[in-house]
Amino acid sequence: MPTLKRTEILTDARTHYCPGCGHGIAHRLVAEVIEELGIREKTIGTAPVGCAVLLYDYFNCDIIECAHGRPPAVATGIKRVQPDKIVFTYQGDGDLAAIGTGETIHAANRGENITVIFINNAIYGMTGGQMAPTTLTGMVSTTTQNGRGEHGEGPPLKVCELLSALDGVCYLERTAVSTPKNVNATKRAIKKAFQNQIDGKGFSLVEVLSMCPTDWKLSTEKSVDFVNNEMKKAFPLGVYKDEG
């Protein structure tokens, strides 16, 4: 039986995340990977705009907070100047797949040797539950009050599928944090995404399906069910690309 202990990569600060939110699990997994790889003192993280903007309050490493959607560009600047450092972005669906789609696609296609942690909870959390690019068809949000689709929103954007067409990309995997098994798989994927960078293999992205009970207006338990039963249908888990 392994002993559970705090990772020193996370601070003692109490997070601002809502009960049942998946960010806390994802933070913990990223932190454990940084610790296990022994890279804290050479890691530079980028914080997004969205629920994870306060990343620097929770992570015990250098962090730069970026404008909405711009972390892949900022990370490009950092990594090109300091190729020996480990640079990761941590972004939500609005940041990575709406306002920052251009930055995402081009950093991926250039094969920037960075690690991208993409939290997909199918909703705008910080602003109070508006439609995200990844909101499911028919899913209710504060800007799709009768379900996505009635205003010509189109279907949810599938980031791993989209990026898998790009030759510059090294590694793409979609995981979830809705079951213990999925959490373990997510950690393995995140570790691989960081290891790829250490090995100089290029752009690695892990898309993590995550819960947002508050803005889904579901109980924490039902939110887990929503990921397992609804989100995984729209966003099948798996490895979408592995050139490592």
């Binding site: 804290r40 003192e41 050479k42 890691t43 530079i44 980028t46 914080a47 903007v53 620097y56 992570f59 015990n60 490493c61 250098d62 962090i63 730069i64 907070e65 970026c66 404008a67 711009r70 560009a73 900022v74 990370a75 490009t76 600047g77 950092i78 990594k79 090109r80 100047v81 300091q82 450092k85 480990i86 251009g102 930055e103 696609i105 081009h106």
Partner: protein, 359 residues
Amino acid sequence: MGKKILLKGNEAMCEAAVQAGCRFFAGYPITPQNEVPEYMSKRMPQVDGVFVQAESEIAAINMVFGASASGARCMTSSSSPGISLKQEGISYITSAELPCLIANVQRGGPGLGNIRASQADYFQAVKGGGHGDYRLIVLAPASVQEIYNLTMNAFDWADYYRNPVMILGDGISGQMAEPVEILPYEPIVDLPAKDFVLDGCAGRKPRVVKTLYLRPTDALVTHNEHLQEKYKRIESELSLYEEYETANAEIVIAAYGITARIAKGAIRLARKKGIAVGLIRPITLWPFPSDPFAAAAETVGQMLVVEMSHGQFIEDVKLAVDSACPVEFLGKGGGWYPTEEIILEKIESMAAAVAKRGM
């Protein structure tokens, strides 16, 4: 006297940047500044620097944000519509107090405008452009040599004040070629240690570069007050201008950049005709060198503002003059530029009006 070589303004800016230790360039093609990314794409690898052709102006300025946070001397360049796109990033970089150089080789606007020279981005450069209360140090070179010299200085001031510096040029001075003395780089200030750099937290506490201030409730008020104190300090320390033939002048022209260059020709023509005209040319547009204008307004009869826009720079001149003398205007946007003859005509009509009133 060092070796002189023939360079376009845009190329001189690049070479000065390289000489000053700029080792990161990110940019996006736009006329009339394409020589800049082209030159940098060739030159940066020669000095172990980084060149990135970004997918957008927004990405370019954010790459510069990351490069600056990494401690590199860095720059981006564009022309008017592209500079509009960069404003978000510029606002963030000023709040984060990171140094960098942004060059605007101005073209006609608004909108897609045209690709002729213009000075219609004065307000955007000097008054803000992006959101929030912030300032850029704005430099207005009037010759290719001055582009070279000021670009070197720009990196020093950016580092010294931890603030972005903008070279506000235009399509004429960017495109024209003149002999340039390639001066070696010498810092003009004591450069502070870059204690903000994010390079991994080996042997120190983690650092954060951020622009969000939520707690305590007045944290952003405090941050803004800190920025304003810095801007006041810059205003008190940095004010550059050139005076030309102002002693005993009856009319003083206010003009900057390429327009001031043309105005000098007009002044020589006017003086041959016996009209005593001089020029005050701001070299820093922010901080604005108000004092020479205020002083001149006390002694000259009239002032004439010449600019390649419908009247932006004139507002700062009028603030400096504070109604102490009449301020006339000659300017148009859209790619128009004044010739020496057009300026001379305006000077003559101003002189004639005074003579008539004096009769």
